[in-house]
Symmetry: C2
Subunit: 480 residues, 2 copies
């Protein structure tokens, strides 16, 4: 619906974006807006608030609305269409080194995680739901746990899956210990040690570590920060290698890129895997964090033959402390259920009951809307600080959701050196080396935006920018 | 301390055991006992109650104490010292079949599980501990979970391990999703698909299923119902096969045999595995269910070099609904921690905090003593019913603890036929075929004693005995 305030907000947005209204310039006052455009006070206020929410204006008390510094930074480079050989993953040693060194130091600012502050989640409501769960089910801890998951939780998940175009019955939903267990089970169901799995490049090191622990080889497929995994490259890989046993992708808010796969792209991906008879494993951990209230359709929504294994969890969107994930395994469901039973039996019931109650209430969608909005602000503030403090030549995209930024440093810079220098100042970042078997992303870093932006965080990013400048100038040859 | 009533109880016990006092015969009345032996009323009463508790007398209201039918049944046959070839495990199909058929029928009596009635566990206390845990840690569900386990829980487990002669620091305790995850991790740490693992024979099918799911081969080592795994046979196996990558044993209240490994036997086992450089995986799920208040020393207590991987859980002893297990991996600890992290990350904190609080209180040992006593009674009543109702030639041991009986039927009987016939009458038993890759235990069944004995259970066992008689007489050729 096209409200009046939205039309005027769009008008002023153009002015800001085109530079007609400059950064730091004061917006017309509310009274002036009313007079200039013949609108009500309410409309004038709504238009300013919308632009403020979207990050274009900032309100200064008793002064008015001012145009904010917007990030004027180039997007991350598209990847080259080249594919390494498939190789066994050696990520654990590499990552352990970074993690171990991170623990030896006192850390003031941890930008390396992909998490949110606990305050962003409805802790009080979940606590109360959990207490109700025990009181209503007093034998919870001394009774056998429900097989494959608690019925109420499976039902809620099946219902919410409909919003993503996925039609699954509660009986097809298997509850797991987080999405990581779901990925383990999916891979164990379709592949044996020595097999090759196609993954996005870059990808989150948790996935690479799973591959390593299962003795699987990874073939890294170039992935666009805009559109996700390259279908052409994947097709090429399938032709080149005949033992690709699965493809694992994060179509929505890919970690670390933040890309959201366009709908046509998803169609092509599902069709390709179907044609190649290669199982497609979908990690949908982040989709509820996409800005748009309208959920996008999952890969699983296109699955006609059970070739897509859908995995997700509550870890980032609701309850990192509950360790609740789920999956629907398509034609491998029976095997996956057997492996789950053999590996960890069934999940305990109490957290499922509490989560089911909360997720079935209207509070859940309200929480998600608020979380998206909060993360949006935090991402934008972080991006602006990076634009302000990092050297010229730094590139980044601001994703349409999620809790991290993937930052491309000027190419000659080593994120390992940045990691070391930052560590000495009590700042932890996630160096690009952690997101691939290769060194292709050595000049990238991932910065967490999960905590509310603050002067402290601003100073830390300033510090980070400063040390990157130092390293950069050390790299640059001095003029004779 | 030698109380007067105990001396007289021993006196009457001899009379009963020798048959001087016959089954069904009435004990002297309290007044007669006082007069005969010059003892007080209190002493007379205590002596009768002691014999009643030990199962030799039953009190009939307003009649007095009567000598009970005691099981007069031969112990289970010792195994022959023969070793099959190592083979891939095919237990899942076999067991699934039994499980699936069990689900298709309405079941009145389920003797097939190895579980206790929820009433045998302190549900109320655990519930309250859990509520306290949330109230004291309101951010539990929205905060990152503690790495490797909650400190309080790890500390309690390390402390209680001391009672079994095991010295481990809390830092060496890794919390898992039940003992089954611990076994998975232990096997993944020391073996690769295609490797051979030595297991007891018979053993619980859960273990066989883990082996199958990991692509491991099992070599089944004859196991005595009295002394546990045969050291001679294990030695022979080690000499015959050079790719045995681990030995998995349940030294205390082995499932299904109920054997308790003598101390000298444990010494030999640990020494043998050490000498052969074969990791020894100890499943200690049941040791707290041993009758004796004095805990026996674990295999791990003898571990000098980190060759023993200790695994246990709260599943049978305290809280089947909590899914809490733990392990200490000896020299494989780092690899096990890595595999755990890659497989399921860390366990949620809530149940750990509640369990730690309860287990650190005096209520826990009181609970265990009561549980042992209750199970003892239930085992003995079940054993008596079996002795009364099953055909001559039936053999069983009554273990010194635990919640099941391993019953050897006359050799020509097929437990599969017994399973089928029982199922038709709404009774589920666990046929011996589920406890081995071989058919060696086809004429065995396992009977659960986890529920309080009742007239209903007595009738079900009578029904079971009856149908076994029928099958038996069908087998026996009729005289011409």
């Amino acid at each position: 619906m096209d409200y009046l305030y939205q039309r005027w907000a769009a008008h002023y947005l153009s002015a800001i974006v085109s530079g007609t209204l400059k950064v730091g310039e004061r917006m017309p006052s509310l009274r002036e807006l009313m007079r200039l455009h013949g609108i009500s006070l309410s409309t004038a206020l709504q238009l300013c608030r919308q632009l403020e929410t979207d990050g274009y204006l900032e309100a200064k008390p008793r002064s008015g609305y001012f145009v904010r510094q917007r990030m004027r930074i180039k997007p991350v480079t598209e990847p080259r269409l080249e594919i390494d050989q498939a190789q066994y993953v050696g990520i654990h040693a590499r990552v352990s080194d970074f993690i171990a060194r991170g623990r030896q130091q006192a850390i003031q600012h941890n930008f390396s995680v992909a998490r949110c502050s606990p305050d962003l989640y409805p802790g009080e409501a979940l606590k109360n739901a959990a207490i109700r769960a025990i009181k209503q089910n007093p034998d919870l801890f001394v009774s056998a746990v429900p097989n494959k998951g608690h019925p109420a939780f499976r039902a809620v998940l099946a219902k919410r899956a409909m919003r993503m175009g996925v039609l699954m019955s509660p009986d097809e939903v298997l509850i797991t210990h987080g999405c990581i267990e779901a990925l383990n089970l999916a891979l164990r169901a379709v592949a044996q040690p020595g097999d090759t799995i196609a993954v996005e490049s870059p990808t989150f090191y948790g996935l690479l570590q799973v591959l390593e622990s299962l003795g699987l080889r990874a073939i890294e497929i170039p992935t666009s920060p805009q559109t996700g995994i390259s279908i052409e490259a994947l097709e090429l890989a399938c032709q080149t290698y005949n033992n690709i046993k699965a493809v694992v992708v994060v179509p929505h808010l890919q970690n670390p890129l933040g890309s959201i796969m366009p709908e046509a792209h998803k169609d092509r991906l599902v069709a390709l895997c179907e044609a190649q008879a290669i199982p497609l494993i979908e990690d949908d951990t982040y989709s509820e964090l996409i800005n748009d209230d309208i959920p996008l359709r999952a890969l699983k929504a296109r699955d006609q033959t059970g070739n897509v294994i859908y995995c997700a969890s509550l870890h980032k969107i609701l309850a990192p402390g509950m360790r609740l994930g789920w999956m629907s395994g398509g034609r491998w469901q029976a095997r996956i259920e057997m492996l789950k039973y053999a590996q960890t039996r069934d999940n305990e019931a109490w957290s499922q009951i509490a989560a089911a109650e909360y997720m079935g209430s209207s509070a859940y969608d309200r929480h998600l809307r608020k979380l998206r909005s909060t993360l949006k602000t935090q991402r934008e503030r972080t991006a602006e600080a990076i634009a302000r403090y990092f050297p010229v030549g730094t590139r980044l995209n601001v994703p349409d959701g999620g809790l991290a930024l993937w930052v491309e440093l000027p190419e000659q810079l080593s994120s390992r050196r940045v990691f070391d220098a930052a560590l000495r100042r009590g700042i932890l970042i996630a160096p690009g080396l952690m997101f691939s078997n290769s060194n292709r992303f050595e000049h990238f870093i991932r910065i967490n935006c999960g905590w509310p932006f603050s002067p402290d965080i601003d100073r830390a990013l300033q510090s980070l920018g400063h040390l990157i400048h130092e390293i950069s100038s050390l790299n640059t040859p001095h003029p004779a």
